[in-house]
Amino acid sequence: MKATAVIADDEPLLRAQLRSRLARAWPDLEIVHEMENGRDIDKVMQEYEPALFFLDIHMPGVNGIDAARVIGGRAHVVFVTAFDQYAVQAFERGAIDYVLKPFDEERLAVTVERLKERLEAKPAPLDALVEELAGRLGAKGADHLRWIKASVGSNVRLVPVEEVLFFQSDEKYTRVVTCEAELLIRKPIRELLEELDPARFWQIHRATIVNVDRIASVRRGLKDQAEIALRDHGETLVVSRAFTHLFKQM
């Protein structure tokens, strides 16, 4: 019986390349389908019932790792990658099959031999490895706000949060102050606090959040308050009594 396989890669030439290389290295393998990314794995499984998936790791939309997750143990998976040190290390340790781009004829032959053997057995579950890969390659720290969108005239300006010196509420709006500009946004301080990275952005007043990286000095001010001087900016910020503990000496 001929083995069946699906190739998923976002670059059309590389799909064609892998197909032609496999045709030489493994004439009995039939490529039943090609995909641009890892979407609709379930449909493909149903329609073609392939024994084998060649998955490029980097694909737009659903990448190879997500696709492997969906496949679960229903088919054998071979990862295809151009260069991923971490991934290759993980593959070696987990005895996972992978193919490196550009394709090397000899190495591909070795992989093919191994795959032929593996196809006899049931696909090994990849869950642990897939999770590890996802952790290493996936979007880390993606849950904090990274960009501020503010309208300037008819345009929407995008400011990376690390450029922001401080946020300060100003009646209806929130002032976003950077070295170069001052912008107004509608998002209130309270919501910003929830979304910003708390390691970098500290609330120092009911109405103010400061970027800790941009603080030049802190000195005691009137009453029990403190005053913050910023780097590259003339404005001083008041730390209200409730937040002065943040700046107490260690």
């Binding site: 976002d10 670059e11 059309p12 030439l13 590389l14 064609a16 390349q17 032609s20 641009e36 990314n37 979407r39 980097h58 737009p60 939309g61 151009a82 260069f83 991923d84 490196l100 781009k101 550009p102 394709f103 979007a139 720290g141 993606a142 849950d143 904090h144 706000l145 990274r146 960009w147 501020i148 969108k149 300037v152 345009n155 929407v156 300006r157 995008l158 400011v159 990376p160 690390e162 450029e163 170069e180 979304e195 030049a216 005691r220 001010g221 009137l222 009453k223 780097r231």
Partner: protein, 346 residues
């Protein structure tokens, strides 16, 4: 309980010792005018000196903004001399009423001397403090300059290390590998683009100054490669008037914007997208922009190291007269532009 300890900040052993020394010297200096013994004068001087010192310290620490600190401190010296003289009288067991009666002359002299010496000492103190403040400001400016230099160096280093991604290189070579078998003429074109790109991107081949034309060529080579690789998904246009190509432009900034446009703009969205590079000169400024019709920036997705690298380098090269602006494009996509003073040819 509210603590007022801060009012006595700066009342150090050193300050007490120097005031004691000044008092001893002052008493010695005037002992020949008076009929009093040195010991008697020293007691008066110390009373005036310590009272003034305490009041001076408190005056310097009171948190208020209406009266300048120096004025408060001088007032403290005057009041301190007055109170100190009375204190000296009490210490010596004299009758306070008598002090303002028949002994008034002596008391005034003590007070006057106290105020005189006090003012000289305070003036010296204030001058020294100002000097220290200037020194501190100078150090701060210095350290900021160092920081800037360090940032620039790091930016340069990061630039030299990270330019050619192995991922990009191997993927491109895999494409060439295929084209060699299927369409040699296209393979040659792609190799040409790759060579062109590598020549510009490899650090040791890069010159420190460059012009917009060269940067555009490099961006074009990069985009040509990606157009082949991504098939129909990528389209690009370069709208840069020829006269602008000879303008000086910092190296490796445009390519970073173009890479971002491909990587974070067009590539993640599965439909096709286009990238347009534009340059315009107006009012002595050169504005180079990269526009993509990709998926746009998600507020919670990371901004690249590349952008802060560009900002650091712009700041080091041009100070406040250059900037990097990133804007959303309607209906979707991003426009990133670099604005620099339109310099001469390079």
């Amino acid at each position: 309980m509210k603590s007022y300890a801060y009012l006595f900040d700066g009342l150090t052993v050193r300050r007490v010792l120097s005031v004691t020394a000044i008092c001893a010297a002052a008493a010695a200096a005037v002992v020949w005018i008076f009929l009093n013994t040195y010991r008697d004068l020293l007691v008066s001087a110390l009373c005036v000196g310590y009272t003034s010192m305490v009041l001076f310290t408190v005056a310097g620490n009171i948190r208020q903004v209406r009266v300048p600190r120096e004025v408060m401190q001088l007032a403290a010296i005057v009041i301190g001399s007055f109170l100190g003289t009375i204190l000296a009288g009490l210490v010596k067991g004299r009758d306070v009423r008598q002090m303002f009666g028949e002994r008034m002359a002596g008391v005034s002299i003590t007070m006057g001397l106290g105020i005189g010496f006090g003012c000289v000492v305070v003036a010296m103190f204030i001058l020294r403090e100002k000097h220290a403040r200037d020194q501190a400001r100078f150090h701060r400016a210095e350290s900021e300059r160092h920081q800037l230099e360090k940032n620039l160096l790091e930016a340069k280093l990061a630039l030299m290390q990270a330019q050619i991604e192995p991922h990009f290189l191997f993927n491109t070579l895999a494409n060439v590998q295929h084209l060699v078998e299927t369409s040699p003429s296209e393979a040659t074109r792609m190799l040409d683009s790759l060579i062109h790109y590598l020549r510009a991107a490899l650090p040791q081949m890069r010159e420190s100054t460059t012009n917009l034309g060269r940067e555009i060529d490099m961006a074009r080579a990069f985009l040509e490669i990606h157009r082949v690789r991504m098939g129909a998904r990528l389209d690009f246009a370069i709208e840069v008037p020829d006269p602008l190509k000879s303008h000086a432009f910092p190296p490796m900034m445009l390519i970073t914007l173009v890479e971002n446009a491909v990587k974070h703009g067009v590539d993640p969205c599965c439909e096709c997208g286009s990238i347009t590079i534009r340059a315009v000169e107006s009012e002595g400024r050169l504005r180079v922009s990269v526009e993509d019709t990709g998926e746009g920036i998600k507020p919670k997705k990371g901004g690249g190291v590349g952008l802060s690298n560009i900002r650091d380098r712009l700041k080091a090269l041009y100070g406040a007269s250059a900037r990097l602006v990133i804007e959303e494009r309607a209906p979707h996509g991003v426009v990133a532009s670099i604005e620099v003073p339109a310099g001469g040819a390079a």
